[in-house]
């Protein structure tokens, strides 16, 4: 039964991963009007679905990057396998819950935070609660980039800067080269470029992110003993994860799309194309070199870079600062949730523990969903004028009351 809960929450996490990250690929195309909001999310969903099947790497050892639950061959550590892998399943279950809750909270606040950091944070927290800090892979063995520092923390600081640099250069070049071309004419041409580059980012997202959940579910199956093969992901797991991430993408995290597309920089088509080209290039090269970066950090850095590369463009540093803060606390916050869930679930014997934790997840999810209704952002108002807003979605609420009066 615990296995079913793990699979369910893993797929739920994949879903939040999809809707949290729609913005990374599509925020700029929606903001410039290159694509209608609904068309954009549908296109992105299809490409995520395709991407999920184009596995870049077998992701069975995904958890090895941050925690010591598996051996390097992918098999779970034997001491975690007793009682049908109960302890390992509990760790994974609580880690996933930490990831989901943090994803939902940042979505409520309209902040683009990294879904992979949320997942890793949750896993680190629940592992530390279960096995102590020694169960966490902090640095690896030093011979290659590994562990929390090498695979999560260093890339997190570097990736926005790299993406911003590439996008700044790209934007500057594009504006230099097209000087003398009438603005309306250029906008039309660059819209096509924008759609193409945004599609590449969606495809890359599908190949990178759906993998992680596939790896986690397969780990659960092996721990429970229903699968012994440690080299392949079962087809139904692939299909389930691909469909979950695509469905999440289609739902669209409109609050985050709004922040990235309208909040950070007022974006034009050439800037949008430069941003997405930079994101696609950085994500694809880094993951090909076996060094996966967070799509969210890269996309945000790129959008910021286009604001820096175009003369006279305004970057809202206040918004950027709030995002940076959210990134800094993503890992520890998801970790604390993961650890608390583990302690709670472990202190109640039998199936009571996991069920109580699951009930808390449902309760908090419901509360956040209800809370989001107060200032709903959707396909219809995602592009409304941005007022410097303290509360996310507040500006949308303002313009709505104005328009109903008028």
């Amino acid at each position: 039964m615990l296995l079913i809960l793990v699979i369910g929450t893993a797929i739920a996490f994949d879903f939040t991963n999809g809707f949290h990250d729609t913005a990374n690929a599509m925020a700029t195309s929606i903001a410039t009007g290159a694509l209608k909001p609904k068309t954009a999310v549908a296109l992105s969903a299809i490409l995520n679905l395709v991407g999920a099947f184009l596995s870049v790497e077998v992701a069975l050892t995904v958890t090895n990057a941050v925690v010591k639950l598996q051996t390097s061959s992918g098999a779970p550590n034997p001491e975690l396998m007793v009682n049908n892998g109960h302890e390992l399943l509990m760790i994974v279950f609580c880690g996933l819950i930490g990831g989901i809750l943090w994803n939902l909270l940042t979505w409520l606040l309209g902040l683009p935070s990294s879904s992979s950091h949320a997942l890793f944070g949750g896993l680190i927290g629940s592992t530390a609660a279960a096995l102590g800090f020694a169960g966490v892979n902090w640095m690896g063995d030093g011979t290659k980039l590994d562990g929390v520092v090498g695979k999560v923390i260093l890339p997190a600081f570097a990736s926005p800067a790299v993406a911003a640099l590439v996008a700044t250069i790209g934007t500057w070049l594009v504006y230099r080269i097209t000087a003398g071309v009438a603005e309306r004419y250029a906008e039309g041409g660059f819209r096509w470029g924008q759609i193409g580059t945004a599609s590449l980012v969606s495809l890359a997202h599908g190949t990178n992110d759906a993998q992680k959940t596939m790896g986690v579910i397969t780990l659960g199956l092996i721990a429970y003993g229903v699968q012994t093969d440690t080299t392949t992901v079962p087809l139904w797991v692939k299909v389930a994860c691909a469909v979950a991430i695509a469905a999440g993408t289609y739902m669209g995290g409109w609050r985050i799309i709004r922040t990235l597309g309208k909040g950070l920089v007022e974006i034009s088509s050439p800037q949008g194309m430069a941003a997405e080209a930079s994101s696609a290039a950085v994500i694809l090269t880094s993951s090909h070199l076996g060094f996966a970066l967070s799509t969210t950090h890269v996309a945000t850095g790129s959008i910021l870079g286009t604001g820096l590369g175009r003369r006279g463009a305004e970057v809202r540093w206040g918004v950027a600062g709030r995002m940076a803060l959210a990134w800094l606390i993503t890992l520890p916050a998801a970790g604390i949730v993961g650890a608390l869930c583990f302690w709670l679930g472990d202190s109640i014997p039998g199936y009571g523990g996991p069920l109580v934790v699951f009930a808390i997840l449902l309760g908090l999810t419901g509360w956040m969903m209800a809370h989001s209704r107060k200032s709903a952002v959707h396909a219809g108002n995602v592009n409304d004028e941005w007022h410097s807003e303290v509360k996310p979605g507040a500006s949308v609420a303002d313009t709505e009351t104005v328009s109903t009066k008028a």
Partner: protein
């Protein structure tokens, strides 16, 4: 650790600038050539069109698409245990 990281990120920066900023620049050349080709309202100066430039424009766009296609082929094929070889100038798939 820091040195390993420096090497990895250095590679990412070099390739990303080449592709991530170079392709948009090439695309921008295409847009500009197209505008020169159309002339009139497409340009700020409003000169008469030079139709030959349209061919240049479409060559630019085709080159951008070709580079993207090769890039995707390299990445996807490595996931299936193949790599792309340029031994015969034209990219061909060989098993790793």
């Amino acid at each position: 650790m820091l040195q390993l990281f420096g090497n990895a990120i250095g590679q990412v920066v070099a390739i990303s600038i080449l592709v991530g900023a170079g392709l948009p620049a090439l695309f921008a050349f295409g847009v500009r050539a197209l505008a020169v080709g159309a002339g009139g309202a497409a340009e700020v100066t409003g000169e008469a069109g030079k139709p030959a430039m349209k061919i240049v424009a479409w060559l630019c766009f085709a080159l951008v698409l070709a580079v993207i296609a090769v890039g995707l082929a390299i990445i996807i094929s490595s996931g299936f245990g193949y790599k792309v070889s340029f031994e015969h100038v034209f990219p061909t798939f060989i098993k790793k």
